[in-house]
Symmetry: C2
């Protein structure tokens, strides 16, 4: 497999269509069909809006030598790093998230060597190692959908733009080589909907949960809202002059921590092209199925 460089890892292109499946053709498809298209390399585009209702996740794959420290980093920073699944060492199947082969079921992967981007590929079967551990971290798609369903405008989605993201002065709690500042995403919310936005997103701890800050950007070290560090400049809801900036912890935080830690190898999803799990995003726990609830041989 050739490693090809993506000119801009943050573009939201619609994936290949020549010999594959278009984003539009997958938009109404069930998760099984979407995953099959990704697994067969017929689709490698952005996943926002696909398989609605299924939990999507950021991915980080590390050697076992770095796995315990990274898992501690996630435990200590659950807002930016909400851990929803971890594979067994060397096992490419992410069993608690459904029928997921982490080597093939992400549309596009970024390969980092010693902290530097070394390539972008649409499968890692030939890179998989028996000391690899894969982590899935929840993402903002889940709460954005819930906010929209409650009638809270998400103008960046309507404009097909990427949400504005900023480096903040909120430090994460360190673990081994992992640390650094919290990256936040910001959405401008009408003043009379801010309380609703807080309450609704708080119900999704697996997807960054409640905001980490509301209001004055300078209070968390952000000088200029019009100049985000990632993504597109923010868009206010139509007709709202006094929209309030609301900041959520962002999945770019662990990506940054991974780059700063410079592990010999680390594989992530390409931004915007997430793992789509089988997990119901409304579940109170991010797992597929339920454990056995009864044992007919006992208790009779």
């Amino acid at each position: 497999m050739a490693e090809t460089h993506s000119p801009d890892a943050h573009t939201s292109d619609q994936g290949r269509t020549a010999a594959g499946d278009s984003y539009d053709s997958l938009k109404a498809a069930p998760v099984q069909r979407v995953r099959a298209a990704i697994r067969k390399r017929r689709f490698n585009g952005q996943t926002a809006g696909l398989a609605p209702g299924r939990l999507q996740a950021n991915i980080a794959i590390l050697p076992a030598s770095h796995a315990l420290d990274f898992m501690r980093y996630c435990q200590r920073n659950p807002k930016p790093c909400p851990l929803v699944a971890v594979t067994d060492t060397g096992d490419p199947m992410m069993r608690t998230a459904g029928d997921v082969d982490i080597r093939t079921d992400v549309p596009s992967y970024n390969i980092y060597r010693d902290g530097a981007l070394a390539g972008t590929v649409d499968g890692i079967t030939d890179l998989w190692r028996d000391d690899f551990v894969a982590f899935a971290l929840g993402c903002s798609f889940t709460f954005e959908r819930a906010l929209q369903e409650a009638g809270i405008a998400m103008p960046h989605i309507a404009a097909n733009a990427t949400v504005a993201m900023y480096r903040s002065s909120i430090e994460t709690r360190k673990a081994g080589p992992f640390g650094g500042g919290t990256v936040v995403s910001m959405r401008l919310i009408a003043p009379d909907r801010v309380d609703d936005a807080i309450r609704i997103s708080a119900a999704y701890p697996w997807a960054h949960g409640a905001p980490v800050h509301v209001g004055d950007p300078q209070a968390i070290g952000i000088a200029d809202l019009a100049a985000p560090d990632w993504g597109d400049p923010p868009i206010a809801p139509a007709g709202i002059d006094d929209a309030v900036p609301v900041f959520w912890a962002c999945g770019v935080t662990p990506q940054n921590a991974l780059r700063l830690a410079r592990p010999p190898i680390c594989i992530t999803h390409t931004p915007g092209r997430m793992l789509i799990t089988d997990v119901d995003e409304r579940a109170d726990q991010p797992f597929v199925g339920v454990p056995a609830q009864s044992n007919p041989t006992k208790g009779d």
Copy 2:
């Protein structure tokens, strides 16, 4: 330090009083004074009701060789194993839980070798190793207090009895050598308070959260409520003939998983004698303090 066997690890004795501090003398004391008494080995008794408002935790200490699998087990089973803190490998300070030295700040420790109880001690300074990792898991004291404050009777507490606990047929999700059934604690609740009990306990995910089952014990493999596998027989609330059995995931679950996995060494708290952390049990995240919220050198 001599390892002395405890005749019954499940007794709720009031700790030494001869040369130390009595439970009653500590009952109204702030957490700093309680911890100082434990650290100086002036108190080694049960901790229910001490330092009210502070999160108490089950403890498991393992060699690094078993730490990643155990942490995965906790991630996959958050109801019985709500992970609130993990130390860095070899570091005895549990920094995210406050001023906690895990070698001295638990009233009493059980030492397991190859899965078998090898002794009970009131300090592990001389057993500490530079490959040890300590895990703190939330416990039911937190939600029991919240239920009581809402006027939901906890007759076992009033009777100074241990809550009834049962092996259930609800299997945990395995991770490496860790697995086995979920142990549940059961409280009899007046029918008109069951919904409240579910709602209130759900607000404490760091303390087992909402119940795992309500009603028919046989549905989760429990034959006889009057014969618990651990603890004392259940007590119904006074004057309630039709109390409903409500089952919560229990911290004995990981203790069992640890014994079944038979690691060469594992150290736990002695049941009932928990780590008292500095964490506010009402906090939405189980950490002491907050990360920096502003950086005055930036954004001007």
